[in-house]
Symmetry: C2
Subunit: 362 residues, 2 copies
Amino acid sequence: MRKVYNFNAGPAMLPEEVLKQAQAEMLDWHGTGMSIMELGHRGHEFKEVAEQAEADLRELMAIPMHYHVFFLAGGASTQFAMVPLNLLNGKGTADYIETGVWSKKAVTEAQRYGNINIAAKTAHRNHLAYVPPQEEWSLNKEAAYVHYTPNETIDGIEFHWVPRTGDVPLVADMTSNILSRPIDINDYGIVYAGAQKNVGQAGITIVIVREDLIQEPLPRTPTLYAYKTHAEHHSFYNTPPTYSWYITGLMLAWLKRQGGVEAIYKINRRKADTLYNVIDTHKDFYICRVEPSYRSMQNVMFYLHDEKLTPRFLEEAAKRNLLNLAGHRVSGGVRASIYNGMPEEGVNLLADFMQDFVKRQG
Amino acid sequence: MRKVYNFNAGPAMLPEEVLKQAQAEMLDWHGTGMSIMELGHRGHEFKEVAEQAEADLRELMAIPMHYHVFFLAGGASTQFAMVPLNLLNGKGTADYIETGVWSKKAVTEAQRYGNINIAAKTAHRNHLAYVPPQEEWSLNKEAAYVHYTPNETIDGIEFHWVPRTGDVPLVADMTSNILSRPIDINDYGIVYAGAQKNVGQAGITIVIVREDLIQEPLPRTPTLYAYKTHAEHHSFYNTPPTYSWYITGLMLAWLKRQGGVEAIYKINRRKADTLYNVIDTHKDFYICRVEPSYRSMQNVMFYLHDEKLTPRFLEEAAKRNLLNLAGHRVSGGVRASIYNGMPEEGVNLLADFMQDFVKRQG
């Protein structure tokens, strides 16, 4: 059992087992007498780590061989530029679905490279946020791609369905929900995700790209921003972030030991349901401002009806070692980020505390 | 004492003290009950780590406040593009000094963004490599900057003097010799260095930029490739590689405990002299193909006169736990990379082995 439960939106909790393994191997990885961070990236030891991580990811997500898998330095913000730089050449226009802060950031960056059409936006009814159904979207059949953010961490809005874009490739920023639930990778042209929420530490981004989307990028695209560079060099064009790759590898192995994505999904679903049940049971006290069918399984975002009580709520939670529950500075409220690394007991303790807090105000 | 000595060109050895501290703090950083890799990048805990690392770097290198210090995701190859993208706007031309594989890579990337003039190249006399003196360089007074690579890891060539470029800013790729010796930062417009050789692990690059060089970049420069983005957001535009930053912080604190750059320079000088002395003493057996005044203090590159003996040399060294001494695949020979993290006892063991190997062939 961990001493504290960290509900931060990311970087976020990692399983104790993963941290203990990293600790045990810190000075001597597999009998080499060296830390994995001291080993050359082109040596057979790190190659083994890198290849195992890719194999485990392919297995967990059932990624066919006509998709490339890259492990790239930097966060998902690199992809806000790389996606348009690599896909807009010869097309010049793309569709974006704007459902929160992160998809807006992706739009702003993409607008520097081409004509960006906002095909749909978050809407509200009865003061609850939702995403309009696809029939109401203004998709452009000539678009180079459709970009969306299946989970928005700040407002706690998540898609529980996959847009159908026909021949136009679908691009998804899965930074906050990769490997949290089963997906069919064949629905996507590109999936990318910074590792620091569900699958490791900050500093590395997984990018899964369908082979036909490895194209000639726009002129003057930096070499490291061209997917074709990474396809040719298998993520080894230059020194990759070896230790971050290793930690992601440990997380992937841990996910396999949990029983894979189906198994972790059941746990994640249960974790989220536990918290939303408390909110709905005490709906005169707590409110979630997202329609039930768009509530995030990753970031349970809610408010206290009496917002003056929020600071006390956060303070008392912290005394019970339930940490970093404050909502984002733009949204306020309370946010419980419960990614793969958050153990069920942490969520149960939070649920107990939420109920107890209601009673004590009564 | 380490069990093995890793002479890899990078990622490279880290001091045992640094690894032990990282190990001890893995599950509980400073009593938080969390790993530093689990902590939010905008929380006060990581801010403390980040600010201390910057303060220590500024102290160690005596960096004045009119220089920005960035800690950026990715390796030095990012800077091969960022330097021209940020400095060529309105100028269009830059001078490069080509002294090996790394400076050539910088040239190739820069040529995509402007007119690049190779102002000087490595030359040879008596089969030994050297860099022509500055009087023989064809510098252009209108250049946006002069770029050079003070240490080239593959051929083992290092500048022991600083080019004087007047009003034209000098840009240095110090990936393989940052913090190995004292420098006067005022001689430079920009200094950059991937951390994985002298100051941490792969995945983070230190970039030191004089304030007046924070300029409007070329059109369509990705947001994360613009120095002004990082100047405005102090390296926190997006989630930085927090754990890599932390490890660099531990290295910087360790360097301070060694007595700073002057003290580590004495040790590094002694380490290199020890190996070059063996080479020169046994000059019928070993040969260094670099002029003495350009021999690298970081990468001691040499050949056995009888090249057929090289595989046996490497094999026997490995049996003594002196590892990864093979030269780069393009150069062959033997290369001992002896950065800050390589302890003196490792170098002494290698020197003993080199002498012993000569005797046993005699």
